[in-house]
């Protein structure tokens, strides 16, 4: 449904997107994840026809967004990062305009407004001036305009930015619901959000794709090590030293009250760890393996990238 091929975008001298390629299949919800300035918004702007790439191609619903952008735009519902609202009109007349702009006729619009208003819980605000709405409601109006023409593909740029936690939860639920019928590409710099909403994630950093996989695979594939978390009754410095001496252990960290032991992914060191503690004369209160959270992976990915760059510079 979305196909990105060797996409590159320069803003003058500055490279914003560097030769990225990825696909989004029909009905999938894919998260574009990366820190601020990674190139997420630029990628989305190219996909929606707002910008043209310096190099490469993008297809949305089988339309080339470089050569046939006008037709492609009909199939896209887009919520930019800055919600595009006219503040001096009511929600109804704004949605009417947004619908007409996408080619709906008067009667279709009437029905569609009723539908999207219900879906986005805007019933009580339909005749309120947009300028008087709070950020959370404006964001709902933003989503409403993106789905008014029942697009096949939805592109949402940071849809939960700047709204309160309850509304964030509602918005995520809304995106999940929409995902049942639409193909969705959503950008975010918040990991839990992506793991909650998306089937698959594309991690982008400094304009390049650094990882791309299903959420559940990402944690196993990208990880060469796993952590064992121990709670030990005993002096923690001594315990740390003892644990480090166990063959195979990569690293030991103390985070009160736990010792985190990093072990190679393919080796189960739990019994050796247990023996070591017992030999030291201490008691194990608890022991568990911990999956690395996406957050750790993300941090690891981006910090690794940076340290690589530093090494290169040196």
């Amino acid at each position: 449904m979305i196909r990105v091929q060797n996409l590159t975008k320069y803003y003058g001298e500055r490279l914003a997107v560097d030769d990225i390629s990825f696909n989004v299949a029909k009905g999938e919800i894919v998260g574009l994840l990366g820190p601020n300035g990674a190139g997420k918004t630029t990628t989305m702007r190219i996909l929606t026809g707002f910008l043209m790439p310096t190099n490469g191609n993008a297809w949305v619903a089988d339309c080339n967004m470089v050569t046939n952008s006008l037709e492609g735009r009909q199939h896209i519902g887009y919520l930019p990062e800055a919600i595009p609202l006219y503040t001096d009109v009511t929600v109804r007349s704004y949605l009417e305009f947004a619908g007409r702009l996408r080619g709906l006729d008067k009667y279709e619009i009437k029905n569609r407004i009723d539908d999207v208003v219900e879906l986005c819980h805007l019933e009580d605000y339909i005749d309120v001036l947009i300028g008087k709405l709070s950020r959370g409601f404006r964001q709902r109006v933003g989503v409403a305009q993106a789905i008014i023409h029942e697009p096949e593909v939805m592109i949402l740029d940071e849809p939960t930015l700047g709204i309160d936690p309850i509304q964030v939860a509602q918005t995520r639920q809304l995106i999940k619901d929409l995902g049942e019928e639409h193909t969705i590409l959503i950008s975010s710099h918040i990991l839990p959000e992506v793991s909650m909403v998306c089937d698959r994630v594309v991690i982008i950093h400094e304009g390049r794709i650094v990882a791309e996989d299903r959420i559940e695979n990402l944690s196993t594939i990208l990880r060469n090590s796993k952590n064992v978390r121990l709670e030990v009754q005993g002096p923690h410095e001594a315990v740390t030293i003892k644990l480090q001496q166990v063959p195979g252990v990569l690293r030991v960290q103390y985070q009160e009250p736990y010792h985190l032991v990093e072990c190679p992914a393919e080796q189960d060191l739990r019994s050796s760890l247990m023996t070591a503690i017992v030999q030291g004369g201490w008691t194990i209160l608890s022991m568990a393996t911990v999956d690395m959270s996406l957050e750790d992976i993300f941090l690891e990915l981006t910090t690794e990238e940076e340290s690589d760059d530093e090494e290169l510079e040196e």
Binding site: R45, F50, M52, V89, L101
Partner: protein, 239 residues
């Protein structure tokens, strides 16, 4: 065409719902009214034939207010973020530009229509020559359209409305006064300067002459700046 009218209607309605536009229209009427009174004090009452209050000062007021009306057209959308909505909708850049131009032209024509009570007063209390008044209004319409297209272009190159107004004002001033410089120079270069100037063609309308060349002149300058606006938007997508 459907999209153009849709955008034009929205644009026109945006003027009517904004307090700013009413203030602009009021000040415009006050200034044109002042020019009218000035003109009445100056004329011989037995000869109320010329629409002199619409000449140079009238032109300048009109151009100034066209620049003010046009400054928000694109710059405001860029600031609001709605520019992204328009440029990602299945609508051609040409339709957006024409729609915005027609919407603002609608506003300018409404403002001009409100000044029609001046000739009405002339008709009631005097015996003016109707022809020159009508051609003067035709001239104001054309000059206004040209000024709006220049203002629209200025609005497309920045997201700051004030900057847009200043650019438009500057371009308009140059194009207007270049003719007077041209007249002073006299040579062939002077003739060319006079020809491209916005001011040198207007006196024909004041004298009641409808010269096709003059009409074509104003229409071509308008078309040129609308074209430049479209190109400016296109360029922004690639940069």
């Amino acid at each position: 065409m459907k999209n153009t009218m849709l955008i034009a209607r929205r644009e026109f309605r945006a003027y009517l719902t904004s307090p700013m536009a009413y203030i602009v229209a009021c000040v415009f009427l006050v200034l044109i009214g002042a020019l009218f009174i000035w003109y009445l004090n100056d004329i011989d009452y037995s000869d109320t034939t010329i629409a002199g209050y619409l000449d140079i000062w009238g032109n300048l007021v009109l151009m100034l207010f066209a620049a003010i009306l046009a400054m928000r057209l694109i710059a405001e959308e860029k600031k609001l973020g709605t520019w992204e909505l328009l440029l990602t909708a299945p609508v051609r850049d040409t339709e957006i530009v024409l729609g915005k131009f027609l919407g603002s032209l609608g506003m300018l024509v409404s403002m001009l229509a409100l000044t029609l009570y001046f000739p009405l007063l002339l008709w009631i209390f005097g015996d003016p020559d109707t022809g020159p008044i009508l051609t003067s209004y035709l001239g104001l319409f054309l000059l206004g359209a040209t000024s709006l297209s220049i203002g629209l272009f200025a609005s497309s190159v920045t997201s700051n409305q004030i900057v847009a107004a200043v650019i438009a004002g500057g371009v308009l001033a140059i194009l207007y006064f270049i003719g007077m410089a041209g007249d002073a120079m006299g040579s062939a270069v002077g003739d060319i300067l006079s020809y491209i100037s916005l001011s040198s063609h207007f006196p024909a309308f004041i004298s009641g002459i409808i010269d096709t060349r003059v009409i074509i002149y104003y229409l071509s300058v308008t078309a040129l700046f609308l074209f430049l606006t479209i190109r400016s938007i296109e360029t922004s997508r690639w940069s």
